[in-house]
């Protein structure tokens, strides 16, 4: 019997030791990354790097075997990416989900693209001519482009794609469009009702993803979701939800000599840790949207970050908004909202959850963007002030009760915020939502919660979701936005004739939403971060809110 007890103790100790040994993974993983580069090592470039010279079309001779091919070293290889959720509507990219967009970009190209500064330049439309005085937008399209199914890309097909979008729930994006028509074989003229600063973004990027209208006509919407048919550098070969999405090289790609890769594989991996293991064993090159803690672990282990340190590239900031229009809810009271904002320690949240990539913000526009108003006072962390405000509003210790919706993806931040609110004497009731539950809340049909989590875009053109006549997200549910003048102010931002006017309107909007009415409480924004081995070049991963990359110029080495 003693033996049994001894053996037991020994074994337990052994298990713990074994696990401990396994934990010193730092060195091993670092060598993994370098091993990979040793086999085929050209001069290491710091990825990602947008190299304009290589993107110029028609410069290289065709054929991979030509010895004079200056890009020979870039050719070949299959890029493997681990993606954590299954994007199940990628072939019809009208959804706003960033994961859908980044996957769809492999095969579907848009009329315009963002550069590093967030400015839009023409891509499938080689020139985007804006005429605010008409008002109109003229698109001069690339010639000789074909969709993967052989259909010609021209002015007619662009109009057809717009038609299909209109038929399928994108009316809101075309609300400002008088008409669009093909005014030449490769020229589309879009007449607007009124000039808006976000018109180019809406029509060339949000609704500018050129999927094949023929594919839609030959099949239906459900088919389109899992069949990505565009003009892009890669052609879809498999799309299995929950497993993988694979692409092979498009040999008839319109930019000669490109793409460099033989193929791209997106491997769906529901568990973060499994994705980390795949990267460590070299089964994938990159994790798309890793969790912050895994990003940090992998960075420490010697892997490379793919991202841009520019605030213009931030996808969105994390925060919460007050969403109860119901009578008698605590958050309908301005003072309570302000107390809640004062109770939040932004710096601490940013410190604990962003691993040095966070930017603290007190308004939708993050510091460093044109939308940010530096004069907004906001609600600095001050527990005493929070308590005093609560008292003013008529709530004693523990009497104020709020409901907080709980989204599993932000579990840690949620618990921290809950803790902060409880420290100033606010009672927090938890209400769990899952991904679909989110939709129920955001859809505006069931506004039963008092505080919602939200990840908001930082660019003014995307705020129509909150500040239009019929908002899809209830930022303004605690208040009559129209009476408060916020909707007018937002309209001014979007229709201002000059940049100075727009700037003034944006500053006023920030002041109204934060200092005047306290509609929401953003915590921080995070700079883009993908993590991978150091073999990926010129991919632009992490640029422009993580939704765009440049598959045609990407190469492995």
């Amino acid at each position: 019997m003693k033996k049994l007890a001894k053996a037991l103790a020994l074994l337990l100790a052994a298990v713990m030791l074994l696990s401990l040994c396994a934990c010193g993974g730092k060195t091993a993983s670092a060598s993994t990354a370098s091993d990979k580069t040793d086999s085929s090592a050209p001069a290491k470039t710091d990825a990602p790097k947008a190299d304009a010279a290589t993107t110029a079309p028609g410069k290289t001779e065709t054929g991979t075997s030509v010895p004079a091919d200056p890009d020979a070293v870039k050719r070949g290889g299959i890029l493997k990416l681990a993606i954590l959720v299954t994007p199940n509507q990628s072939g019809f990219p009208i959804s706003t989900g960033t994961d859908q967009n980044v996957l769809a970009t492999t095969a579907i190209e848009s009329l315009g693209r963002y550069d590093e500064n967030g400015q839009i330049y023409g891509f499938l439309a080689k020139e985007i001519i804006t005429k605010p005085e008409v008002p109109a937008i003229i698109l001069e399209l690339q010639e000789g482009v074909k969709y993967h199914d052989g259909y010609d890309f021209n002015a007619k097909s662009v109009c057809e794609t717009y038609d299909i979008l209109l038929e399928n729930g994108r009316e809101a994006n075309f609300a400002n469009v008088e008409k669009y028509e093909a005014t030449g074989e490769y020229e589309v003229t879009i007449t607007l009702k009124q000039w808006r600063t976000d018109a180019v973004e809406t029509l060339c990027i949000t609704c500018g993803k050129m999927f094949s209208p023929k594919a839609y006509r030959d099949h239906d919407l459900e088919w389109m979701y899992t069949n990505i048919v565009g003009t892009g550098p890669f052609v879809q070969t498999e799309f299995t939800i929950g497993e993988k999405v694979t692409f092979k090289r498009n040999d008839n790609y319109w930019i000669e000599g490109q793409p460099y890769l033989d193929g791209v594989e997106w491997i769906v991996c529901a568990d973060q840790t499994a994705a980390v293991n795949m990267l460590k064993t070299g089964d994938v090159n990159l994790i798309v949207y890793p969790s912050m803690q895994n990003y940090k672990t992998l960075l420490d282990a010697g892997f490379t970050r793919y991202g841009v340190d520019s605030c213009a590239n931030i996808a969105g900031d994390l925060g919460m908004f007050f969403a109860s229009g119901k009578e008698g809810q605590a958050v309908s009271d301005l003072k309570v909202r302000q107390a809640i904002c004062h109770a939040i320690d932004h710096e601490a949240l940013c410190n604990a959850f962003t691993e040095g990539l966070g930017v603290v913000t007190n308004q939708l526009g993050v510091p460093g963007t044109k939308e940010n108003n530096p004069d907004v006072k906001g609600y600095p962390f001050d527990k005493e002030k929070a308590k005093a405000l609560l008292k003013e509003a008529g709530y004693g210790e523990g009497e104020c009760e709020v409901t907080l919706t709980f989204t599993p993806a932000f579990e840690n931040v949620f618990v921290a915020v809950q803790n902060m609110l409880e420290e100033v004497g606010i009672k927090v009731i938890i209400d769990e939502t899952d991904s679909i539950g989110d939709k129920l809340v955001v859809g505006g049909k069931d506004p039963y919660v008092s505080i919602c989590w939200w990840s908001a875009p930082t660019s003014v053109s995307a705020w129509f979701r909150y500040f239009s006549e019929h908002p899809t997200t209830m930022v303004g549910d605690a208040l009559d936005l129209k009476a408060a003048g916020i909707i007018d102010c937002y309209d001014k931002c979007m229709t201002a004739p000059t940049e100075a006017d727009q700037k003034a309107a944006m500053m006023e909007l920030a002041r109204l939403c934060v200092d005047e009415y306290c509609l929401y409480c953003p915590f921080y924004a995070t700079l883009s971060y993908y993590i991978g081995d150091d073999t990926i070049h010129d991919s632009d991963f992490g640029m422009r809110g993580n939704t765009q990359w440049t598959p045609e110029t990407t190469w492995l080495g």
Binding site: L11, S29, G242, D271
Partner: protein
Amino acid sequence: MGRFLLKRLFQTVIILIIISLMAFALIHIIPGDPVYAMLGSDITPEYHDQVYESMGLNLPLVQQYFHWIGNFVQGKMGYSYHFKMDVLQLVQRRLPVTVILGISSAILSVVLGLLFGIITAVRRGKPIDSILTVLANIGIATPIFWLAVMLVLVFSIKLRWLPSWGFTMPWVDFGKSMKQMLMPTICMSVGGIASYTRQTRSSMLEVIGQDYIRTARSKGLKEGRIIMGHAVKNALIPILTLIGMTLRNCIGGSAIIERVFNIAGMGSVMVEALGNRDYITLQSGIIFLSLITCLCNLLVDIAYAYADPRIRLE
């Protein structure tokens, strides 16, 4: 034998009907409108009604059940709005993976469990008995995903002996398939191995104490023959009835294991379907997974009755 077979078959059918009733009830117990819950509330009312009708939800409850089960039996399980494919197609793709994993871990549980059980019973009180017993106990006590994560860390990342993820059908690439299956199978069978070891050990000890073993010993038969020929044979029969149970646990464990090892099987389908409120897939998945266990139970019972005639008369 014929009557016994018929009776068992009839029972299995009844069990399957009860399971189908449970799966059917699921969609009605979950709060809220199932279509809005599945597709989100931002769909148009027309689309909602269309899906609602296609699921037969507008019919009276009893009729609804028969509509659903009738379609199910004909293979028309419906369309999965999350996986964007026909449920039958999805199941055809994913179920074999889980079944292969489940059956191989059930087999591994039985083989290793019996082996360890016999060893510990024969070598009672010796060090090997202690070590195996302790191992079995720790095996049962460890959270399965923890064990899986540790194994991956050691064998995939540190030693690089085994791949950390994926699944290949054995007939496509046998070597690769075996390598990929090794760790998941071990994780899924740990619990089974441990309980078989314990069961076999005590059942063996009981048999060894019986008169006929003593008689055999006194006849001067070799110890090895006594153990294999008499003791094992008699100790095994009651243990084999547990196979169905083991398979059930293995298939249940696949929900966790498939996630850690990123295997696209039925377990991950169930978890993903639940997370995305894909009730259509969920209902069919429950029936198919239960069907496997039921069939396995049936086969075991038949084999058992074949081996032990007393059972047939029960």
